[in-house]
């Protein structure tokens, strides 16, 4: 019988969104043949939460969901203590979702010094530095189930994943959410006539879409195997980034009519030049309805 990898799923200050996103992984049967949870917030496990906090149960991977604070407890034990105990025995730690990675929405929960495991927003933390080599971060609010599961398989295979500065596997986070969006042409040719409830138009100019400067594979591997926020017409809220959540999410912050945040790696002057040229195109099909006319 092949050996299953033993996984502990620990929820810190969380909404369980990553848990339920994970339940959307389409090949669950195969996954459960290869991995077993010594504890999971929803799936039945051999051990109870009380076992987990009171004993030290052998385990290969520690998954952390939710923002972390010493003050926050599970079964009367601080999540930091639980993390420290298991981090010593596991091969790898995976921070699942934006809260566990950067603090996310629940960074503002009011608990003392709430943050991600290694980052407080963009800022690297001094604590848990000894665990840096062990940690892989899969950010997202929630994380895409395929990103999480395939990262776990990479660990099982001992594959050397290349990580970015925030410990995220580049295979998933080297892309931007903009990459693969069905509204790309409107962005490229600077046709800025987006209105909600339409198939046409790019949301970068007015509606706060952060896709051009957000690292993620949302438009490459799609959500629920069918769609993405931006394809549907929801602006990208930048939920994989340390800055999530920014304020005023549905509008684009501008300086002198230029969006403040430009696509990754694009300078303001170059952008202006490029925008000028792009705007010179008058592409009829982009000015009209895609389907009706």
């Amino acid at each position: 019988m092949k050996k299953k990898m033993r996984v502990l799923w620990l929820s810190a200050i969380a909404c369980n969104g990553n848990t339920h996103s994970f339940l959307n992984y389409p090949y669950m049967e195969q996954f459960l043949d290869d991995f077993e949870f010594i504890y999971h917030p929803v799936i039945d496990s051999e051990y109870s939460l009380e076992d987990i906090v009171s004993k030290e149960i052998t385990c290969d991977i520690l998954l952390i969901e939710g923002a972390i604070s010493k003050e926050f407890k599970r079964a009367d034990v601080s999540v930091v203590d639980i993390i420290e105990k298991y981090s010593k025995i596991v091969q790898k730690i995976v921070t699942v979702g934006t809260c566990a990675t950067f603090g996310g929405i629940f960074r503002e929960s009011g608990y003392e010094e709430t943050s991600g495991l290694h980052f407080d927003k963009e800022e690297p933390l001094k604590t848990h530095k000894d665990l840096l080599d062990k940690t892989i971060s899969v950010s997202g609010c929630p994380v895409h189930p395929e990103v999480l599961v395939n990262t776990l398989y990479a660990i099982k295979k001992s594959a050397a994943l290349k990580l970015d500065n925030f410990l995220r596997p580049k295979e998933f986070y080297a892309y931007t959410v903009h990459n693969g969006c069905t509204r790309n042409e409107y962005f490229e040719y600077k046709v800025d006539n987006h209105r909600f409830g339409e198939l046409e138009g790019c949301m970068f100019y007015d509606h706060g879409c952060q896709a051009p400067f957000t690292h993620g594979s949302c438009n490459k591997i799609l959500w629920n195997e069918v769609n993405s926020k931006t394809r549907a017409g929801v602006p990208c809220m930048g939920c994989t980034e340390p800055t999530f959540p920014r304020q005023n999410l549905f509008s684009t912050k501008k300086n002198m009519a230029i969006p403040e945040n430009l696509p990754v790696g694009v300078g303001k002057r170059v952008y202006l030049t490029l925008a000028g040229i792009s705007k010179a195109f008058k592409i009829d099909r982009l000015e009209k309805k895609l389907i009706d006319d």
């Binding site: 969104g17 996103s21 409830g197 959500w223 769609n227």
Partner: protein, 419 residues
Amino acid sequence: MIKLIEKIEGEAKLNFNFKEGKIDFVDIEFMSTRNIENILRGKNAFDALVINPRVCGICGHAHLIATVQALESCYSNLKLSNKAKIIRELTLNFELIQNHFKWFYLTMLPLFGHKQEILKATYPSQLMGKAIAIFGGQYPHTSYAVVGGVVCEITEIDIIKLQHYMAETLKFVEENLVKTKSENFLTCEDADALLDYEGDLPDILRQIKKENLLEYGKSYDRFISFGHNSYFKKGKSLKAKITHNISVLHVKESEMPSSFAKNVSFKDKYYEVGPLARAMVNKTPLIADAHKKYGDSIFSRILARVCEISQLLQHSKELIKDLDLSEKSYIEPSIDISKLSSSGYSAVEAARGTLIHKVEIENGMIKNYEIITPTQWNLSGGTKDKHGVSQKAMIGLSDVKTAELVFKSFDVCSVCTTH
């Protein structure tokens, strides 16, 4: 005796007091909170559309719909297309359905000594996730409903895809949950006749009867439901007597000394919310019959929740017929939110029952935000002379294991409660 109750979207502590071998009182404690209401204060009102789905991983969509409706109630002359209303109702139905599958196969079955059926939970709930994603781009945690409508535009092809997901889900129900044509299940008006069917639901109901659990889980027989739409009616039911004229103004939230959860009452009385409450108010024949025979017991509660899967699938099929694709998905509000100082509220039916959001805006910024979740209704209580609904349902039981079954029959959600 204190027992940590796990896997209820988080944890709670139940402190059982026994007297002469029977449970005399149960103190329910939630050990943490995430302070979403504080997080919202001072933020741009529209940001609530992104933050609030994060109240809960399993019913975040209900929080989105509650948020958008609460914000819309702040406007005096906002227009919404029928199309947007139908699309919102459809996606909310799908969320309820995915929840019920997960609850039945992940939470309930193990409590009856069966193996947890992970794939039976995830397969149909994934189909419902796909159905929501067609409109919302993703599930969980979309923010596709905005003030003025929905952001998506729907084509005939989307409707065809949607119908396939729904047909596949229905097929799953007919091959697993209740092995019969869904018309038979939906028109069945006799709870006992249902026991003769094959399937995972009748199996559990038979087990309840066989193991003499029929008297378990009875509470006040008092139900309430505020979130009316084209399927759910608003009203309350007291020993099967139904009144529709109720107001959210009589809903009160109060602090609990021992817990981070707050109590919720209507005219100072505790009410049960959820699928059983909705079915009582809606006078669903099968559930009304179960209630007549077995009262507000775990039998009726389980039947009502699972039955809602088929009812909502059926109703969603009808709703799609009313969709007029030529209508607008979104109608821009005439006033910019930054010029708006107002207050409003909403009530929607989430999987576990009535969810209420109240908001106060000043120049487009959130001054105050209050959320009342379904589990707060069902788990209110705290005092010996005034038991909450679930507390009352556990009193008189002789063992903790059965009490956990009764407790979880309310489909408890810790993260919602401790928002």
